[in-house]
């Protein structure tokens, strides 16, 4: 068994794992990232997809708002193509009165940080103006405050961070699980963790040695810690989202549920999502299910402000676990969204750090903090560059007009190219080059985005794609209205050509997953779509 020595071994390929891997690699540390399944497959993949400026911290921690807004600006600058602006209406039941003035003051204070994140100042809309903007809202609403935040595709964010890490020398092992840890005793009675034992997807065992090992496994943190013999207590909380087939509105809405929690209906890329719930979770993070009740809870709340919501087409639901820091006595919503780094030296294990808590928006800050600590321990004097360096694709910005020209010249649909740009930024030049050499790769595989064959091939080659699920995360293939009806099979054929995967198994697994995400709320055209799928693919794989 080969035993390579790394400076840092990161367990967990979510947004923190990828962020730390990038930071470490940029600072010249020899980095290894190990992920049990696929990048961004856990908590990060179930996020609301927003990099927000920390609006609610104005109530109790102003500095955090400023830092969050500033960091939102950094993330935006590192990959401007990846983010899309979401103008949001904070809906009000009363237009005048003390509450309205308090609320406006709150947004006025938030305006001070808008420039940090390239946001716009708030506006205050009268009832008439709100209905002019969105006639579908419920008649009892009296006005709204508006502000904006940035939306982001968390999967692409992880992949781009990972790509940058790899470009700077990091090694990535996906579909590889850490099964055990290696220790050596030290003179003072404490143990030093010197490495990990992993098992790859084909069953082989391998040892890797590292000077420092980071536990960034999110909801799986307590399990891993238990293996090591230390303890990190978390208060895991489950949250679900509902996805629609298109943008119901270009504006987001914030409203409240039956138990006074804040929820939203937001545009997300070319769909809309409703989110989210927050419930203590005691189950297995590998086995999550969205329940019918959770979906009804969210729909009922949105229905109050957008009465026709149930007429719109739901194409899926997804669930995730927040690895919230432990605290007894509070309601789930009120728990801190802060993060904490646990240095297990105090518990007798050197060289092992855990970071838990936090949110998607603060990933870069958290990564910087942890990497600073790692560098301190390893006596490396490099400074953080992740707030300055662009992510792959971000160094080459292309304007809308230029994109349209490129589409014309390449004989591609302009919309397909703009969606491609939103995922790859300047990296589309590589994909366009593939198309130049192989014009038949202009073929549209998935109509939902649309996703071209060239992008599918590029992602399989460059972005660690091993299954249709992985491909879905990279390109959103099969994630739109069709839910894989026409695209799963041709995509599986390409996967077979490049990676030797069995197309029958890939298609079956992919369609099973789509069905599972639809089951909690299946109605209207989504039933017609599933019936079509059942009819076409139900018996198409017999020998």
């Amino acid at each position: 068994m080969t035993q390579e020595l790394f400076d840092v071994i990161i367990i967990g390929g979510g947004v923190n794992g990828c962020g730390v891997a990038r930071d470490c690699a940029l600072r010249g540390l020899k980095t290894l990232l190990i992920e049990k399944k696929d990048l961004c497959g856990g908590t990060s993949g179930a996020s609301s997809g927003m990099i927000h400026g920390g609006l609610r911290y104005l109530l109790y921690d102003v500095k955090t708002t400023r830092l969050s807004s500033k960091d939102s600006g950094f993330i935006q600058k590192s990959a401007p193509f990846l983010l899309f602006r979401i103008p949001i209406l904070y809906l009000m039941n009363k237009e005048k009165g003390l509450y309205a003035e308090l609320l406006e003051t709150f947004f006025e204070v938030y305006d001070r940080y808008a420039h940090l994140k390239n946001g716009k100042p708030h506006t205050r809309l009268t009832r008439k103006e709100v209905f002019e903007l969105e006639p579908g809202l419920a008649p009892h609403l009296q006005g709204a405050m508006t502000f904006d935040e940035w939306g982001i595709d968390a999967y692409r964010l992880c992949v781009l961070n990972a790509k940058d890490a790899q470009k700077n020398g990091a090694k990535l092992l996906l579909h590889t699980q850490v099964t055990d840890f290696l220790f050596e005793s030290e003179n003072d009675g404490k143990k030093k963790m010197k490495g990990v034992v992993v098992q790859t997807s084909d069953g082989k065992k391998q040892n890797y040695l590292g000077k420092i090992i980071l536990n960034l496994a999110g909801p799986w943190i307590p399990k891993l810690c238990q293996k090591v013999g230390v303890q990190v207590k978390l208060r895991p909380a489950k949250g679900i989202h509902i996805v629609f087939d298109r943008r119901i509105s270009n504006i987001g809405f914030i409203t409240e549920t039956i138990d006074r929690r804040s929820i939203f209906l937001l545009p997300y890329q070319n769909t809309s999502i409703i989110g989210t719930t927050d419930d203590d979770f005691y189950g297995d993070p590998d086995d999550l299910e969205v329940t019918h009740d959770e979906v009804q809870y969210l729909m009922e709340a949105i229905e109050r402000v957008f009465p026709t919501i149930r007429q719109y087409r739901v194409i899926g639901t997804y669930a995730g676990i927040r690895p919230t820091l432990y605290e007894w006595g509070k309601l789930e919503d009120r728990l801190s969204r802060g993060h904490k780094i646990f240095d297990h030296e105090k518990e007798g294990v050197r060289g092992f750090l855990t970071m838990a808590g936090g949110k998607l928006a603060s990933y870069r800050l958290m990564s910087e903090e942890l990497t600073n600590l790692v560098c301190k321990k390893l006596k490396v004097k490099q400074k953080c560059k992740t707030h300055v360096n662009p992510l792959p694709g971000g160094e080459d910005l292309i304007s809308e007009e230029e994109l349209r020209d490129m589409a014309l010249r390449a004989h591609l649909p302009a919309y397909a190219l703009s969606r491609l740009y939103a995922r790859h930024g300047g990296g589309i030049r590589d994909i366009l080059f593939l198309i130049e050499e192989n014009p038949q790769w202009k073929r549209v595989i998935c109509a939902s985005e649309p996703v071209l064959e060239a992008e599918v091939r590029y992602c399989i080659d460059e972005e660690w794609v091993n299954s249709l699920d992985d491909l879905g995360r990279r390109t959103r293939l099969g994630w739109g209205g069709c839910q894989g009806t026409e695209c799963a099979w041709p995509a599986a054929q390409i996967l077979k050509e490049k990676k030797g995967k069995d197309p029958k198994e890939e298609v079956q697994a992919f369609l099973k997953k789509r069905w599972k995400s639809l089951m909690p709320y299946l109605q209207g055209e989504s039933i017609a779509q599933e019936e079509l799928k059942h009819r076409v693919w139900g018996k198409s794989f017999e020998v």
Partner: protein
């Protein structure tokens, strides 16, 4: 008689009624699942041994007591099919007693009793013949990329077929091959002629694989169904049934209009009998929003004789997608005369008949009996 729905069972019912001298019209708001058939048709889910009708029923009685075959007489299958073939312009080949094995465009196989002409290649008879099958990524086929429907239209022209033959000759070792199987795109309206032309140019028998999606054979089939109606002089009324009048358990008339421009063209259709052949969810015969409902006459819907709106969601949806889903087996409950019944077993309307995939008790996609049910129920429904 008015038939609602122009899929296979609706057309069969209309043709039967017309051949009995009745004045028939067919109403439809669009095409449905029949227009997406892959080109093969199923009667019984057997593995290839000779099928005795009595043994199918026995098997079904044991496994599924709600299957429509309990109401239908399998002995009538050939009579119904012969009547259908009198009007249907395309060749459908096969057997009433055994299933053949057909190749899908995914490279897998499926058993069925009948197939349309280009798909009719029973792989049990291949023996030692060398078969060249060509895939569905059309880069070898053409320079620009067309959706299958557009490619099929293009290949309706002999020049294009000649050009295809040239490309095939230059790219494949056709001299070593006994049989050629192409993806199902060889022409849309003139596919019979184009197949013959290609066979002539290549000197080889040419067949097509069975389609998945999109389906050109499905388009050919539905267009042929429309042609059968024209041949039998059965008018097709384009529109959706918006409402209906009824009196003392009889439906008296339907109000039909173009769903999307309701101000124009509202027609009222009166008839002695109404036949419902509207299909399941895909074609819009059934729908669910907060509850399930049958979209024309609001007939109660059942799964295994239990009212579907009383079933808890877990009962209707199985976790494993590829298993037979109760949701896709639900439908209208009928008596032996195919009159829809309510939960008490009483007829909902005495002059309404239900046929086709609208019926409860079978999964048209999964249990291998779809064509048999459609033909026989359509034939029987017109028996007044």
């Amino acid at each position: 008689m008015v038939v609602i729905g122009s899929g296979l069972s609706g057309v069969m019912a209309a043709l039967r009624a017309s051949s009995q001298g009745k004045k028939v019209a067919i109403v439809r708001k669009g095409w449905g699942a029949s227009a997406l058939t892959g080109g093969i048709f199923e009667i019984a889910p057997t593995q290839g041994e000779e099928v005795q009708f009595s043994s199918i029923l026995l098997d079904l009685k044991q496994k599924n007591s709600y299957h429509p075959y309990h109401h239908l007489d399998l002995e009538m299958l050939s009579t119904a099919f012969e009547l259908f073939k009198k009007f249907f312009p395309l060749k459908i080949q096969g057997s009433y007693t055994e299933n053949q094995v057909f190749l899908l465009d995914t490279g897998f196989f499926r058993r069925a009793a009948f197939a349309m002409e280009p798909q009719f290649l029973d792989f049990r008879t291949i023996g030692r013949k060398k078969v060249l099958t060509l895939g569905t990524d059309f880069s070898w086929f053409q320079e620009s990329l067309l959706l299958p429907q557009m490619l099929a239209k293009k290949l309706d022209h002999p020049d294009e077929v000649r050009s295809l033959a040239q490309r095939l000759k230059s790219k494949s070792h056709l001299n070593q091959v006994d049989l050629l199987v192409l993806p199902p795109v060889l022409g849309l309206d003139f596919f019979s002629d184009m197949k013959r032309e290609l066979e002539h140019l290549l000197g080889l028998p040419v067949f097509e694989s069975v389609a998945t999606i999109p389906s050109v054979p499905g388009l050919r089939f539905q267009k042929a169904l429309d042609a059968s109606l024209r041949k039998a002089s059965i008018p097709i009324v384009q529109g959706k049934v918006q409402s209906f009048d009824h009196h003392q358990k009889r439906v008296t008339s339907l109000r039909v209009s173009d769903e999307l421009e309701t101000e124009l063209n509202e027609t009222t259709l009166e008839a002695d009998t109404f036949i419902l052949a509207t299909g399941k969810f895909f074609s819009g015969g059934l729908r669910k929003e907060s509850v399930f409902w049958e979209t024309v006459f609001h007939l109660p819907l059942f799964f295994e004789n239990e009212k579907i709106n009383d079933c808890p969601p877990q009962k209707l949806l199985k976790k494993k997608f590829f298993k037979s889903q109760p949701l896709f087996q639900c439908g209208v409950k009928t008596n032996s005369a195919l009159i829809p019944l309510d939960e008490f077993g009483e007829p909902c309307y005495e002059n309404v008949r239900a046929c086709g995939t609208l019926l409860q008790g079978f999964d048209p996609a999964q249990d291998g009996t779809c064509f048999g049910v459609q033909l026989l129920s359509g034939y029987k429904a017109a028996d007044i």
